[in-house]
Amino acid sequence: MKKWLEDRLGLSTLFNFFMDEPVEGGAKWSYVFGSALIFVFMMQVVSGVMLATGYSASATDAWGSVYYIQHKTFSGWFVRGMHNIGSSAMIVLAVLHMGQILIYGAYRRPRELNWITGVFMLFMIFGFGLTGYLLPWDQKGFWATQVATSIMGLSPVIGEFLKEVVQGGNDYGNLTLTRFYSFHVFFLPAGLMAFMAIHIYLFRRHGVTPHWKPGELELKKKTQPFWPDQLFKDVIVAVIVFISMVVLVWCRGGAELQSPADPSSNYLARPEWYFLFLFQLLKYFDGELEVVGAIILPSIVAALIIALPFIDRAKSRYPLRRLPVMGSFGALLAVVIFLTAMSVISDSGDERIMEQREKSEKMAHMAVELAEHGIPPQGGTSVFQNDPLYSGEQLLRQHCLVCHNFEGSGGNSAPDLTAYNTKPWLVGFFADPNAPKYYGKTDIDIMPEYDLEEEELSDLVDFLLAQAGKGKEIDSELKETGEMLIEENGCYNCHTFNGTGGDTAPVLDDFGSDKWLRGIIEDPGKKEYFGQLNTMPAFKDKLSKQEIDNIVYFLQNKRKNLIKN
């Protein structure tokens, strides 16, 4: 049976072909980085394929599908977390791999093409990071990637065209996602695998570059086979990398998912950590010079790195004899680390940025909570618009706080809406209706100050507010006292109640109810409300019915919560 299969498949011949590789000078821990990169890449491929089974590349669905992977799919958060941390692992290992090659001088003749294909693969790894980042279509990916494509637009002559090709048209949308998805799962993997094949072929052709010290004879003598001597070390490193990744994912709770991409927000764009140095570099070049920091300088450095095997003409492979090369790369690494650190430090020292970060954290949390009830087909951001609480607050801040004050912010030319229509608010109002907090800054000045006894005032306010409760029967005793107090204090002179009374002040039937509040917002100048003395604009033509409902819902919800506590 074994022979039958072997005759047909030739598996052990194939295995020997790949594994029977003499490692001159013996297996070394310093050779593990290449294999570790292949290991992580393979992990990325399988986790990527699994994530693709649940991902939808469309501007309306991407966030929802990633939300679903993260929160509604078994182990989804973990696999997504591994895929996310895998990109960082690739970068770290690639840099270590490069460092080892540099120190050993493994880029030198005849291995120039090993080096060049390797550098291209590093760029592709960055490409993976950049394209993958956008796919969840959350705030972070959306805004950080805008920066990258805008930079592309700065390139001379073809910049604008290039940018539109990459982002799929004049602006971010469905085609940006379908294209980035395609880059991430087809173009880049195909490219990377092709380069990997060439890279490994070239490595096998020229063999490992051993330590610089031992002579040829000694190296030959110490030769060990790749399998199992070197591969064992590679496997140990793979185990360490795997466990570190799992621990990191576990501790961080997987990859973050910010709130859905909202083009109308002013989100603070920050790229992944491995792009921070490029991002920081942009800060040092102003205006016209932008293109220098964004494109010209990085391109020159990239070209120099690629050309390294042709630049380095040192006679010996000893690192100390190649000081200019070692020095320049050391300096380059130092600059990258410095820029990254600068970026982190300047952000963590900026209160405004920390505040925004906190806010976006909250939004992300809320978006996930709202998505629990299903995401409307209009896409991720509509979870907010469909939430009366959130939308109500936004609308209130946008339209009402120009004049009204609310919880410490806003204007002060109209009554304060903090704790509006709660007992303390109304008690304060009766004590001094013309205080600046109430109607003092408006044209309404006809409400007299009432000097009621404490108990009477309490009953009156209780009675008025009891009407706000929908469908609730008002306690008959309270009703009797309330109606009597309204009668006694001459409220009927201005206010209407139960169909009788004046019409120079707001109607008291259903006082403080949703309907009453909605009526005021829609048209406060109506006879039932503030009539001729009104200065508040009518919102019935400015906001949709739904929007007004949301403001009412928000205010009433605030009120109910205050009463509860």
């Binding site: 029977d20 003499p22 992990m43 399988v46 986790s47 699994m50 994530l51 089974t53 649940g54 669905d61 929802g64 599908s65 939300y67 679903y68 992977i69 509604k72 799919t73 078994f74 182990s75 989804g76 973990f78 696999v79 591994m82 030959k220 003598k221 110490k222 030769t223 060990q224 086979p225 399998w227 199992p228 001597d229 591969l231 064992f232 496997v235 140990i236 793979a238 185990v239 795997f242 799992v246 998505a371 009830h373 299903g374 995401i375 409307p376 087909p377």
Partner: protein, 184 residues
């Protein structure tokens, strides 16, 4: 060629036992990684099969008035329901259709329009007085029984209820291609 050389030379400073140990360790450790990683990956992959991904109302859905219904003339009515599809929650929209038939005793029967064979939409052919599935030529009579064709069972009835001149249906998808009627 040079392979020969290294085999000879490496025999000198290593021994077979150590190398076998390394081989076993390598295989065991990499298998462990493989298994550890496969578990969450497989969980992700099969997850949709273990939960309800697409759902609508489970109760009765109102179809509309039955005043225009004629005896033994199937009437096509659309099922309008709010649907949740994985992450998306759709507002009410058409999710399917049923055939409503009133018999001489004013009793109502509802057939789902999904063919029990492979799920195509069944039509009513007025001329022949038969239900026809256009995909694979299954024919059914007005009582939903198979007359001819590949369908393994008759048309699937749905629970109905009449209230205030309106018909309500409990809309359900059935498993296809088997001779027993079973909810999908």
């Amino acid at each position: 060629m040079n392979k020969q050389i290294y085999v000879e030379e490496t025999e000198i400073h290593t021994n077979k036992g150590r190398r076998n140990f390394l081989k076993i360790c390598s295989v065991v450790l990499s298998s462990l990684i493989g298994v550890a990683y496969a578990v969450p990956l497989i969980r992700v992959f099969i997850s949709p099969a273990l939960r309800h991904t697409v759902s609508g109302s489970t109760g009765l859905i109102e179809l509309g008035s039955i005043s225009s219904c004629q005896v033994n003339v199937p009437m096509n009515m659309k099922i309008v329901d709010a649907k949740t599809d994985a992450w998306t929650k759709f507002p009410p929209m058409e999710i399917g259709a049923v055939w409503i038939i009133m018999n001489e005793d004013k009793e109502f029967t509802a057939f789902t329009s999904i063919c029990p064979h492979l799920g195509c939409g069944i039509n009513w052919d007025e001329d022949s007085g038969e239900f026809i599935c256009p995909c694979h030529d299954s024919f059914f009579d007005i009582k939903g029984r198979v007359l001819s064709g590949p369908s393994p069972r008759g048309m699937d009835t749905l629970e109905t209820e009449i209230k205030d001149g309106k018909i309500f249906v409990k809309y359900q998808k059935m498993r296809l291609g088997i001779s027993d009627k079973m909810p999908a």
